[in-house]
């Protein structure tokens, strides 16, 4: 029973979602929206588990005091302040929550994202070497597209931006399309195995 019911739920939910694509009639036409709302609600409940886990890991660190344990205080305090402020004043514009969001959350988030500029530089310095014919193709197409994207390319040869665009529009598009088609088949097959209960490790067990 512990395993059969979940498998049955998976099967029914999956088949219903496939059918709704072909049936415009109610109730099928509303199911996608309905299920999505349900999913979001379950997500919020699950967050209690996630947050519980986060607290457990960090309060343990406070008890055991390994190296750098006090950073756990920073984490828990950050959570407590942001959470309290949000629940008391709400998340609207102009509230303390909004202030913390724009001046604490956003700067760190944007800078973390911007670190990519540096990582792109170091990754291209290290990895773009003409080691094999495949790597050379990667290198050449990257350089052509890159040069085509800056005014410099236009100064060197006015066809370079056009060639860059051509690579993007044709060979790149062909490669992307092949990957997309492969992914579609992979997803169809994986989904089908899940719906039919052939793949059930995520429900624990074989």
């Amino acid at each position: 029973m512990k395993k059969e019911i979940p498998l049955l739920i998976t099967f029914i939910a999956g088949m219903v979602m496939i059918l709704q694509f072909f049936i415009p009639h109610r109730p099928f036409s509303d199911l996608q929206q309905l299920f999505n709302t349900w999913f979001l609600i379950i997500t919020v409940f699950a967050m209690i588990l996630g947050l519980g886990n986060l607290f457990k890991v960090h309060t343990k660190r406070l008890q055991r005091r390994p190296k750098g344990w006090w950073y756990s205080i920073v984490l828990l305090a950050g959570f407590a302040v942001m959470f309290t402020v949000g629940m008391v004043w709400g998340p609207a514009r102009g509230t303390p929550f909004d202030y913390l969001f724009w001046n604490v959350h956003i700067p760190m988030s944007s800078m973390m994202f911007a670190l990519l500029a540096f990582f792109v530089a170091s990754a291209s310095y290290r990895a773009f070497r003409a080691r094999t014919p495949e790597a050379t193709l990667l290198l050449v197409s990257a350089i052509l597209v890159m040069i085509g994207r800056v005014p410099l390319g236009n100064y060197i040869w006015d066809k370079l931006p056009l060639i860059g665009d051509w690579i993007m529009s044709y060979p790149n598009m062909a490669g992307q399309r092949a990957i997309m088609i492969g992914i579609a088949l992979g997803i169809v097959s994986t989904s089908l195995r899940i719906i039919l209960g052939i793949e059930r490790t995520y429900l624990s067990g074989k």
């Binding site: 929206q33 530089a121 005014p151």
Partner: protein, 274 residues
């Protein structure tokens, strides 16, 4: 360690420092490179330009402050373009943090062109659910968005009169930095409801949209800060994207230099070993 090896295994912090300088210096001392317009941007411009005055464009903002440098200038330029052509904008968003940004760009452009909220533009705000919101709005806009972003009923606004579903929208533009975003607008609004969809995306995701552009599923595409700068150029207005383009070019040139430099020493080293 030979010089060649040293170049091969250079401390990456030196690369980091050079990259930082390549951005900081041109921002402090601007140069002013010229900007050339590419085809996807031209198509995007034409998609908007082709609309008759009074048409209604749905502009959905699917980005957040972290991708602001790339997408926000597009949002600003698009709002100006529409208002200049007397095209009405219905704003909305599938990312909550995109709403104030979309609103700010519309307000700014409205001030420049003397447009009025509720008549020439409106912001329907955020709705959770991504793809589902698109389907729901396609079927029934007033039901999906009964209130605007500030909680006022949409019947109050003249612009929303006669708008029932996507049949009353002339063009859909999604400015997106990820999912849900342009991809889903194409899947649902274009795929299932046959609406014209154009997009503005971050440069990183742009290549993935070329197949859609080629298949005619997308009317036009702005890719990253460069796409925004090109769009600003067609419109003949210099904006924040154009301002960053110098730093962009120099830093970009530096990375190309890194790659060529690394390969030069790599190939030299390989020849020596033989």
């Amino acid at each position: 360690m030979s010089i060649l090896e040293r170049f091969e295994k250079v401390d990456r912090r030196i690369i980091f420092l050079l990259t930082l300088l390549a951005v900081v210096i041109p921002l402090l001392l601007p140069i002013g490179f010229k900007i050339k317009v590419s085809e996807p941007v031209q198509k995007f411009y034409e998609a908007v330009e082709a609309l008759p005055p009074g048409s209604k464009v749905l502009v959905s903002s699917e980005y957040d402050p972290s991708t602001m440098p790339e997408v926000y200038p597009m949002n600003q330029a698009l709002a100006r373009h529409c208002f200049k052509k007397d095209i009405k904008i219905i704003g909305m968003g599938l990312w909550p943090q995109g709403i104030p940004l979309n609103q700010a760009s519309m307000e700014q452009a409205a001030e420049e062109y003397g447009k009025e909220y509720g008549v020439d533009y409106v912001n329907l705000g955020y709705k959770a659910g991504g793809i589902v919101v698109i389907s729901a709005a396609a079927e029934n806009m007033p039901n999906t968005f009964p209130l605007d972003y500030a909680g006022r009923p949409i019947e109050e606004f003249e612009i929303m009169k006669g708008i029932r579903n996507f049949d009353n929208i002339d063009l859909i533009i999604s400015l997106s930095a990820g999912d849900p975003g342009v991809r889903h607008w194409v899947m649902i609004a274009q795929g299932r409801y046959g609406k014209k969809v154009a997009g503005g995306v971050t440069a990183v995701s742009a290549p993935a949209f070329y197949p859609y552009l080629d298949a005619g599923q997308l009317q036009g595409l702005l890719g990253g800060m460069k796409g925004a700068a090109e769009y600003e150029t067609i419109l003949g207005a210099s904006g924040t994207a154009s301002r960053g383009m110098d730093a962009q070019s120099i830093a970009h040139g530096l990375i190309i230099f890194f790659i060529l430099f690394a390969n030069f020493f790599y190939l030299l080293g390989k020849r020596k070993k033989r």
